[in-house]
Symmetry: C2
Subunit: 382 residues, 2 copies
């Protein structure tokens, strides 16, 4: 296996753009990533695209706009972890020497998708969903359990959203750039007790892209390469076998494997981007990622360690909650934001001296599965 | 790179099954492939699933039925070449040593899809399609050109369908098991001059799966491994740059690369399975694959060399035209059928002494592209 580096990152604006076809969002992100890497489109040898609400061949259509054609192109889908899956596939191609330079991107136009304005579709044959166990409900159950086992309060969950919005207010790419108070979050419309509207990620249109190559090559290209220390993707077991509502087995297992692959531990992380589709979820990931000891997630949040300026800022981008969540784009976007931190280019959201970061993305909490896909990438400043 | 072998194949029945959810079709094919390989589900380390009309996480949902969970699972889409893309991804993982045993499958339930009974959807932003250039029309233009440049007649195109139905009549898995005459094909309803209804592939529900591992391991497992000599996947250039309507540049280029990778030429092939979504198309592929010299495709068809019992039978399975075309399944199914031939297990459709075979699949003749994906796998009896 060769060491792999991220040499280019690019994201579109995140928000609601009903007049922009998906491929213009994708092309915007890809063009920025190529420009950031200072790589001509003709040097790209392989491309992975991800999108859930596809008609067909998303990658080919997006890359048509950029002038890339004739190469191996593969479209991947893995629910919210589709973009992370594209990154993982590209990493495999480069680490194993199948290709030298490639790109991975994710894109979603949710305002023009078939389910615009609705809850995310559940599986067509999903008995749990038919009985009412839709996405906010699953996370509400998790939140209720956290209140019982962890002493979490409604205000703690609201604080996750407050923290997220504080960061997004400083991020020019974010969908929502407004700070909130705990009171405002708690007073917003109740969605699934105890989750209120401002604890749910919005529907978002957006795209993100990365360019990757072997580390050796990256060093000769003279940019600011960020090294990929670990790339892990796995699915979960069935939901009905789940023993603990305050942990995702797949997320925990993927994290353990990623730390082993990277040869480091959670104490080495300077910055984390993770899947905060619903505010209470962030507390669960603190423990699954080992950012604190089991049972200590509420204390970790309250300590401010995961806020901007803290020991290990979590979602300094604003996260899914306030930067926005264009499903398949998010798993690439988290990688972009960690890379930006490791380059020291995150401006007012910069974690001082960040050397090692982790991008996590989960997806597919449907169809009787605990989690269809859990993906983790650990990266380091070269 | 390690040599890779196909050690298990499985297909569901092909046809119209409005009462069968897609995952039961997929699970049927996967179970058969595992049983054929004599591999327990727990030994599968990675899985690729393909489906166009997805809700989300097709692979995870299908494999839930089979009792496979917790491993890396990736869903791929590449229009009609989605299944071939799944095979290609799995081949890469095994050839490069990322994993040792994995499975790839494709599945489509077209009778329950959002476009059931309609023409295949074109891209949402596809100007050509909006002007009427839908799938049968593109192939009708190709057919008209073949009549002018190659001396092809309407009866020749009909003969492709007659040949296909002769094979499918002997294939228990086929959707249509009825022989046809040239007259019957020509007298069927005109779809896009000169293409009649019986020269178009049907809408089909079905699935296909393969299990693959390193050749060295396959030899110790004591089955009947088939060696993969070449695996190629590429996209095309734009349609408007196409200079010759009687060739697919992407198909031709993928074939040249596959022959080079396999270290052999088209004269070495004993059997071919290819993308015959519309009958005239088969003549184009004869030349793009090098089965005859440029201009000789009509003569090759008329000679009977590509019929059952001929020098190099093409689509002895019945092909998309009469075995059926469950989009993302077809690119896995063609691999299954070539493997069956190379094992000498194709019964009355067997090519005597078949040693080397080629499975080709194209997809994504939409959105201004000549072909979104062209995939070729060349295999040999071990």
């Amino acid at each position: 296996m060769r060491d792999v580096a991220v040499i280019g990152i690019g994201t579109s604006q995140f928000g609601k753009f009903p007049d922009r076809p998906f491929h213009t969002l994708g092309a915007e992100a890809v063009r920025k990533a190529l420009s950031d890497a200072a790589i001509a489109p003709a040097r790209i040898q392989v491309a992975y695209g991800s999108r859930i609400f596809l008609d067909q061949i998303t990658a080919q259509v997006v890359l048509r706009d950029v002038g890339i054609a004739g190469i191996e192109m593969i479209n991947v889908e893995n629910a919210c972890a589709g973009g992370a899956t594209a990154v993982r596939c590209l990493w495999k191609d480069i680490a194993t020497g199948v290709y030298d330079i490639g790109l991975a991107f994710g894109v979603e136009s949710m305002t023009t998708s078939p389910i615009a304005g609705k809850l995310i579709a559940q599986g067509e044959d999903d008995i749990d969903a038919k009985l009412g166990s839709n996405m906010p409900v699953v996370f509400a159950l998790m939140a209720k359990r956290l209140m019982e086992t962890h002493g979490a309060t409604a205000a703690d969950f609201a604080q996750v959203s407050v923290k997220s919005h504080q960061a997004a207010a400083l991020n020019p790419a974010a969908q929502y750039r407004k700070t909130l108070t705990v009171g405002e979050v708690l007073e917003s419309r109740l969605i699934a007790d105890p989750i209120t509207l401002l604890q749910c990620c919005p529907n978002t249109d957006g795209a993100a892209a990365v360019v990757m190559c072997p580390l050796d090559m990256a060093r000769t290209l003279g940019g600011r390469p960020v090294r990929v220390l670990a790339s892990v993707l796995q699915s979960s077991d069935y939901f009905f076998r789940k023993r603990d509502l305050t942990s995702f087995d797949a997320g925990r297992s993927a994290a353990a494997r990623a730390y082993e692959m990277a040869g480091l531990g959670p104490e080495d992380l300077d910055v984390v981007e993770l899947h905060d589709a619903f505010a209470p979820e962030e507390l669960v990931h603190y423990e699954d990622l080992g950012l604190c000891r089991p049972g200590d997630s509420v204390a970790l949040l309250r300590s401010g360690a995961t806020s901007l300026g803290g020991r290990v800022p979590v979602n300094p981008s604003g996260g899914l909650l306030s930067l926005g969540h264009p499903l398949s784009a998010s798993g690439v976007r988290t990688v972009c934001d960690v890379v930006q931190q490791l380059r020291g280019e995150a401006g007012p959201r910069q974690k001082e001296g960040a050397r090692i970061g982790l991008a996590q993305m989960l997806g597919g909490n449907v169809n009787g599965l605990e989690m269809g896909a859990a993906a983790i990438h650990i990266m380091a400043r070269d």
